[in-house]
């Protein structure tokens, strides 16, 4: 066999690589064509299916929170790239309250921003499907409800969403809490929830249009869980709109979000963007109310930071999130048996 010269050998290698690139290009074009479908308006979209994590969890579990946040990022990227996204719940085994709350917020946001571009598969897990149907997520994603919602782990959860400050929305839950723990402790909780709604209106969505919030809540025995989420301006961002001298000195750290936990902690101690003496009482009152509760916990996640109070030793802790959250998530877990406002 004739031996190739070095020059001929290199040319052959180049041609082979070129041929391989061409074959890959044609194959991916064919794949795209196969997955392209058109919506009712005739526009064509590439379809992708993104698996929802095994555990939809945000509170308390760093690894699962990061996986969940990564999933949300993938969906957002897919939609921004003009694709039609299917949320694949086939592998999802368990939904946790804060995870559900964030999914509710994200789904509302995606449906509004990318109409007709988001859908889902029915979950394989019965409880997961019941819960997603209970909070209306499946229906929003175009799937017909097919479960009889009966499991106590689903029916005991109340969910509410609204615009601006309208506490009449949460009346059924507050009445249930009052019936179980009495007027005094219930009113302390309602004061906190009402004030959180007011904070969302004044700080997160500080314009005429206002904005939406989501609440997920339950009471079991005398233990209350309330989580509230908004997708407006974060606590660190709103505080830095009216900076203090210290903020200028720390400007670089603030910009990178490395100290967001500290800013949230400052807000819970009464720092407010309005600088008005009669404002900024909301978060300090929530913290005070939590401190009065046995084993009470308060956690606030906003932008890249979090602030937490509670645990066995009633410790305050702050930290940085691996992936930022849009808006703010506030979580209370309170034992209302011995709480007085």
């Amino acid at each position: 066999m004739k031996k190739l010269s070095e020059k001929q050998r290199k040319r052959c290698a180049r041609n082979a690589a070129k041929g391989m690139r061409e074959r890959v290009r044609v194959a991916s074009a064919l794949r795209r064509k196969r997955t392209q479908k058109s919506d009712t308006s005739g526009a064509k979209f590439v379809e992708i299916s993104i698996p929802v994590p095994l555990y939809v969890r945000y509170y308390d579990e760093k690894k699962q929170r990061t996986i969940f946040a990564g999933f949300l990022e993938r969906v957002e990227r897919g939609l921004l790239a003009g694709k039609r996204v299917t949320l694949n719940f086939a592998e999802t085994k368990r939904l946790f309250p804060c995870g559900v709350l964030i999914v509710m917020g994200m789904v509302d946001h995606w449906i509004q921003k990318f109409p007709n571009r988001l859908t889902a598969n029915y979950p394989t897990d019965d409880l997961v499907e019941q819960m997603l149907q209970h909070v209306g997520v499946l229906q929003k994603l175009g799937l017909s409800p097919r479960k009889n919602i009966s499991h106590n782990d689903v029916t005991r959860w109340h969910y509410f969403t609204g615009m601006n400050v309208d506490a009449t929305t949460v009346e059924p839950f507050m009445q249930q809490v009052r019936d179980l723990v009495g007027e005094e402790a219930q009113m302390g909780l309602a004061d906190c929830v009402n004030e959180a709604m007011t904070n969302v209106r004044h700080h997160a969505y500080n314009d005429d249009a206002g904005g939406r919030w989501w609440i997920f809540a339950t009471i079991s025995e005398r233990r209350v869980f309330v989580a509230m989420h908004d997708r407006g301006a974060s606590i660190p961002a709103t505080l830095l709109e009216k900076p203090e001298i210290w903020d200028y000195l720390k400007a670089r750290m603030w910009r990178q979000g490395r100290a967001d936990g500290k800013l949230i902690s400052a807000a819970s101690e009464g720092r407010t963007s309005t600088k008005l003496p009669y404002r900024g009482k909301g978060l300090p009152e929530m913290l005070q109310f939590t401190k009065l509760s046995d084993n009470g916990e308060l956690a606030i996640y906003s932008r890249r930071g979090f602030f937490r109070f509670g645990g066995r030793e009633n410790l305050e802790s702050i930290g940085t999130l691996a992936k930022p959250i849009t808006g703010t998530l506030i979580v209370w877990m309170l034992n209302l048996s011995g709480t007085t406002p």
Partner: protein, 106 residues
């Protein structure tokens, strides 16, 4: 004569928020639509808090502190004319603290 205002019955079981733009049952709405007219009409006004499911400090501060700050009524005059009625004494104390700490705008 004492004019009685029951927030739960005459305004809302779930009052919340500070300004009119916040929502339908804000502190400003209560102050402007019910409380101020009542104070102008009657020598004595009693505000009953029982029956409501909660308030929030923004509602209470704007409704009662706002009487001093926005409506220009002196805190001493309010102490003489206004009575707060509630099973939970903490609300009464908070309302009077908001009134006493409020400063007139002008």
């Amino acid at each position: 004569m004492t004019l009685v205002l029951n927030i739960a019955k005459q305004f809302s079981r779930s009052p919340a928020g500070r300004y009119l733009t916040d929502g339908p049952f804000s502190g400003q709405a209560f102050r402007e639509n019910l409380l101020l007219p009542a104070l102008q009409q009657s020598e004595q006004v009693e505000v009953q808090l029982d029956g409501a499911l909660g308030f929030g400090s923004s509602f209470l501060e704007e409704a009662f502190g706002g009487l001093v700050r926005e409506a220009g009524i002196k805190a001493e005059a309010l102490h003489a004319k206004l009575r707060i009625s509630s099973k939970l004494k903490t609300y009464e104390q908070r309302i009077w603290r908001y009134v006493d700490e409020a400063k007139p705008k002008n």
